[in-house]
Point group: C3
Chain length 207, copies 3
């Protein structure tokens, strides 16, 4: 168990809590909440691995991911009264989660032979954001990240920065990872603080 | 054509009828109803095989599954007036279907090398329940099984019981299959009869 | 770059525009619109390749598809005021798109060894229509093509006609492709013009 693995498990745990909280508002039963927690945490990485044909899937090969999700669901069950008011804190954890998952997803994609940098960046973004997309689809809502303050764009920027720093500056991977993760988190915090969005307002549209 | 295959085709046929009935209430056209019937019947097994990288997919390799679905759709079309009132009967068939698909899905997953028992149990559950989940997503509803009386939990319990009986009691596979299928059906019938649910009510939540 | 490739890129471009227009009505941000454009254009082909285990996926291997989508999104952004009123024209482009994608999807499926003709026809249909299905699911609507005037049925008819003409008449592939594409476009145009549908009205149902 190295640092990357530990970071991934913490990210999984945090996303499982965020999924449990979202599902809890939909009056699901205990099973439904667990499924939503699972999909929020591992849906993005699973989709990436299916698209890239990377088998066996992470959580099939290594049981600790499922354990981290169970822990997240039980943690939410036990400490709901303390977690629920922590909106600000959790938004912060979510920012850490997407920063982590973007760069880890990007690095995993880069291991695939002959993958173009653009596709690798997309895969980093998919890893971080599509768990939330699938969660929202199952909860019958238009995915939040398609409308929310700069979210996937932050992942995109961080993943692109990682690639550029790697190719142009030859930054050491560890330093690069840390810096670009912080970049993603920073973009996201600033975007939420100042309500920055990138609206879609085509030229000539009457809105 | 052995017994397992026959059982699978019957399960596919029954699920196709249940999908056609659900789709029929959404004012879809004949194509839409056929697609929903297909996804209800084969969506769970297809997702399982994609996650486990088992190719070619069952219904791609063997045309009898598509034939069973066509038969289910046509059967619903012809005998709608007789089927529609049979709510109770169909709920019973559905219980048989999920019992069957859970254990068959579990057994298929167990053939994959080095799969952990927990993942195998999850795959049994996915086989039986995710067709219905995809059906509900396409019909724009929050999946029923995330809210309904013990449904996926019954599949989970049956699959876990199969594994335990296999490892600890060394039960003959045929006997074990039959008993655990009956267990799933029994749990489901009892849960519906007495409206048993496992609500998600976290400690400190005000509901 | 041959003719088929050029045709595919044009189809991708057209579908990306149609996806951008649909997404634009949902008040998404620029990222959300791009994702919906991507999924509308490449979702069907991606699902086909996942089901048939054809890796690497087209847009992962060849960057020109992503470029075509970006071009479609930017084109919509710049020329919205001119595109928006062109409902009739775009419906026409969409008809061309599905004609093209159906036959190209069918031909790709036929390259897979030992695939039954029925499954190949289904794969042609999936290629052309499931991008739109996924778009509608993400936009939280019941997929339009499940209710609309003969749409997927047109794809089905064209794909079946291609196969028949190939096996029975030994038509040259180029001629066959052109004729069956025109057939799909013609069916679709006639269906919309005369509002033809194939409603699902089971015998004995009271509608």
């Amino acid at each position: 168990m190295n640092l990357t693995h530990a970071a991934e498990l913490i990210g999984t745990f945090v996303f499982a809590i965020s999924g449990s909280l979202a599902a809890g508002e939909k009056k699901l039963d205990a099973f439904g909440v667990s499924v939503i927690a699972f999909i929020t945490a591992l849906g993005g990485g699973t989709l990436r691995d299916l698209l890239l044909n990377l088998h066996p899937l992470l959580w099939i090969r290594d049981g600790s991911y499922l354990a981290a999700i169970m822990a997240g669901v039980i943690f939410t069950f036990l400490f709901y009264r303390f977690i629920k008011p922590l909106h600000r804190t959790f938004f912060f954890f979510d920012a850490i989660g997407i920063g982590l998952f973007t760069i880890l997803g990007l690095k995993k994609a880069l291991l695939v032979a002959q993958l173009s940098p653009v596709v690798a960046v997309i895969m980093g973004m998919v890893s971080a954001t599509f768990g939330g997309v699938l969660r929202d689809v199952l909860c019958n809502e238009i995915p939040l990240i398609f409308r929310r303050e700069i979210y996937a764009m932050a992942c995109f920027a961080g993943a692109a920065a990682y690639l550029l720093a790697d190719k142009l500056l030859h930054l050491a991977p560890e330093v690069n990872m840390l810096c670009t993760m912080l970049l993603i988190i920073a973009i996201r915090l600033v975007a939420v603080r100042y309500r920055l969005t990138i609206p879609w307002r085509p030229l000539g549209g009457n809105e």
